[in-house]
């Protein structure tokens, strides 16, 4: 139900139809009194239903592993045992499952990419592998990149725990953003230098959001921005608000 035709023919119809090329926002909907026309009211309800369903569709790490085509991967779970618990207990989603902690090989990694389901596994299935590959290609060849960690029932800060266990100097968490009514497949990227579980705060991260081609940020544009930020983070020795470009303080993490 994403088509946006206007039923009532009027002289502004052509204008709104051409403006819709520039935005997915629900503009020019018309009015029934002060309220929405019936069709648009039902369209909104359909989109809401789709977003509600997206939150609960399960993550399949195999999809990402095969899209990474041979790159080494490690699978982990957070301490949240299921979706319902995950939604109500962000503290558990930020912590590694104790069993899985032992599977992470500690070494002198420069960076670890964490692919985390967050609130939309669809976003992760469709975009995460491509962003990991394109970003890795743009990094200096002497950087030591850890196996890609595929994390289930994961919040952003789970990357801190993972990076710490691996001994990685930087974490890039690619995570499914909460589904909107017009975007159930939006990927976010959170870059954290020297992540420390419990000590790293939101202000220590840089964020790229809305990775969602063709309407949001493209995979290559995201990779270019990320790789640039990563090099600068290493030179500067930090990430967060002092590393200006893409930090979005008003956007909470999934």
């Amino acid at each position: 139900m994403t088509e946006r035709q206007v039923i009532a023919p009027d002289s502004d119809t052509a204008l709104w139809n051409s403006l819709r090329r520039h935005t997915q926002a629900r503009i020019g909907l018309g009015r029934a009194g002060s309220a929405l026309p019936t069709r648009h009211r039902l369209e909104l309800q359909a989109a809401h239903a789709a977003a509600r369903d997206a939150v609960h569709s399960p993550f399949d790490p195999d999809v990402v592993a095969s899209a990474l085509a041979g790159a080494a991967t490690i699978r982990v779970r957070s301490a949240a045992p299921d979706r319902l618990t995950y939604l109500q207990r962000p503290d558990l989603g930020r912590r590694l499952h104790d069993v899985d902690r032992a599977h992470l090989p500690r070494d002198g990694w420069d960076v670890v990419f964490v692919v985390a389901d967050g609130l939309s596994s669809r976003a992760v299935h469709e975009h995460a592998a491509a962003v990991v590959r394109a970003t890795t290609q743009r990094l200096p060849s002497d950087w030591r990149v850890a196996p890609v960690v595929l994390a289930e029932q994961a919040r952003v800060a789970l990357g801190d725990d993972i990076a710490h266990a691996l001994g990685a100097g930087m974490a890039v968490v690619l995570i499914g953003e909460r589904p909107g009514m017009s975007a159930a497949d939006s990927l976010g990227a959170y870059l954290t230098y020297d992540p420390r579980p419990g000590r790293t705060t939101d202000a220590d991260r840089n964020c790229l959001s809305n990775i969602r081609p063709p309407l949001g940020l493209s995979h290559t544009a995201a990779a270019t921005k990320l790789a640039t930020l990563m090099r600068r983070a290493r030179d500067l020795g930090r990430t967060g608000i002092s590393l200006k470009d893409d930090f979005t303080p008003t956007l909470p993490q999934p």
Binding site: D12, A14, L19, A54, L87, L215, I241
Partner: protein, 464 residues
């Protein structure tokens, strides 16, 4: 630490310290449960309210919920407390304050004079003894008027924030959504964009775009591109057209640190914003957003319940005479406010507490798709907050924000609210709506679809 107790159902319930008492007295909500602060039974919750009703207001000045030494928000609250303003209620308990607030003695001028004498903890405490209708009845009496190029908060008025967000900050996409909102009579509180990035150049481009439209059509409103306060300070130094300086704030020093702000930094922003003097009918130049759960989310709540911490954020806000403060009430998610019922309660509490503390309170009446809420909850909240006299609400095209991925009120919702409650836009903006031919005979917004209204020129260039 002091202990508070009450006997109920044949059992004596005890609560450790004012913080423990306030938390246990809170209505059920997921965030307090997550933090391990919620009452452990329904009877314990009511017992906490009995005990809280007996606490003298002066007790809140003697027992800070977060130590003075460790938290600059506590120091701000204590050091700025106005004992003279507090005098009329200084002999009351929390329960007596509830009854006094509901009485005819507490009229608009009295409540305005009282505001500097109240602390966030006092207003949070009394709100916990109030029903939803009480929160509406008292908040409705409070008047807080602020101004920049439009006047916000006058009786019988409801302003709106027009929020033309775009996921890649595409200027054409923003302009298209801006046109949509203006044609629906929105934007008198602010035309405010949440940019997708905090890149100073991207913010600058959007500021120039909004400034251009406001200037070209002589719209009596103000723009804001919601970026980090350091970015705004930087842009102001470089001569960017910054009307309002924005910042997300919270109720503890540590939570503010997680947003990358300190009171010193906000002081600096305040001075910079005022020095630009871009307002025409007033000089309130700051815009703050708050919302229950942010301190808990940052692990910076110090064992204080999320509503009390939220009220403390208002102490930070009022230091800076803001034009607008809004609680983004259902934005963070179900781990803090689980469903429509919890979001509604929080919205009424936040609005009540903010207004009693003297702030121009508006709301982003909203929910995320992982919360148990829908558009009927928006309608319920909107109606109650309209009756309660909210200064402004945030509106998005069709109620769907395509950049932040959440649902808020729509421009249509604001039209509904103005219609059913007889509310009008800010006076300067209303006059402009009349000049531009958007006002109908009854004071509502004319439906101009199909008439080729002059404002559509904003879109015609983009459509070409």
């Amino acid at each position: 630490m002091s202990t508070y107790s009450a006997t109920l159902g044949g059992r004596t319930h005890s609560f450790a310290g004012l913080a423990g008492l306030l938390a246990a007295a809170s209505p059920e909500r997921s965030g307090d449960r997550l933090a391990g602060l919620a009452a452990d039974s329904a009877q314990a919750r009511v017992a906490a309210r009995w005990a809280l009703a007996e606490v003298p207001l002066t007790r809140f000045l003697a027992e800070p919920v977060i130590p003075y030494e460790t938290d600059d928000v506590t120091r701000l609250i204590m050091d700025s407390h106005d004992a003279a303003a507090f005098a009329p209620v200084s002999g009351l308990t929390v329960g007596e304050l509830r009854e006094w607030l509901l009485s005819d003695a507490a009229d608009a001028p009295t409540l305005a004079a009282l505001a500097p004498g109240l602390t966030p903890e006092m207003v949070a405490a009394v709100s916990k003894l109030m029903g939803n209708a009480d929160l509406v009845a008292v908040a409705r009496k409070v008047q807080v008027v602020t101004a920049f190029r439009s006047t916000i908060g006058l009786p019988g008025r409801l302003a709106t924030r027009l929020q033309p967000n775009h996921p890649t900050d595409d200027p054409a996409g923003v302009a298209a959504a801006l046109l949509d909102g203006l044609l629906l009579g929105s934007g008198d509180a602010v035309i405010g964009i949440n940019p997708a990035t905090d890149s100073p150049q991207a913010v600058r481009d959007l500021l120039d775009l909004l400034d251009g439209v406001i200037d070209r059509y002589s719209i009596p409103t103000q723009s804001c591109v919601l970026c980090h306060v350091t970015t705004s300070i930087d842009l102001m130094e470089r001569g960017a057209p910054v009307d309002l300086v924005f910042q997300s704030i919270a109720g503890t020093q540590a939570a503010n640190a997680s947003f990358g702000v300190t009171l010193g930094l906000l002081d600096e922003a305040y001075e910079a914003a005022r020095s630009l003097a871009r307002g025409t009918v007033g000089s309130n130049a700051l815009y703050f957003e708050t919302g229950q759960g942010s301190a808990l989310s940052a692990d910076a709540h110090h064992g204080v319940d999320q509503q009390t911490v939220e009220a403390r954020a208002y102490a930070v806000a009022r230091r800076y005479d803001p034009l607008l403060v809004n609680t983004v009430v259902g934005f963070i998610g179900p781990e803090y406010l689980y469903d429509g019922r919890q979001i509604l309660r929080a919205a009424l509490e936040d609005h009540f507490c903010g207004k009693l503390l003297g702030l121009p309170m508006g709301l982003d009446i909203c929910y995320t798709n992982h919360a148990d809420a829908d558009d009927d909850d928006i309608a319920t909240m909107l109606t109650m907050l309209g009756v309660a006299g909210a200064s402004f609400v945030i509106c998005t095209p069709g109620g769907d924000d395509i950049m932040l991925n959440y649902q808020s009120a729509s421009y249509h919702d604001a039209l509904y609210l103005r219609e059913v409650l007889g509310l009008r836009p800010a006076p300067e903006f209303e006059a402009w709506l009349g000049r531009i031919g958007l006002l109908d005979e009854g004071g509502g917004i004319r439906d101009v679809a199909g008439t080729g209204h002059p404002l559509t020129a904003i879109g015609r260039g983009l459509a070409a």
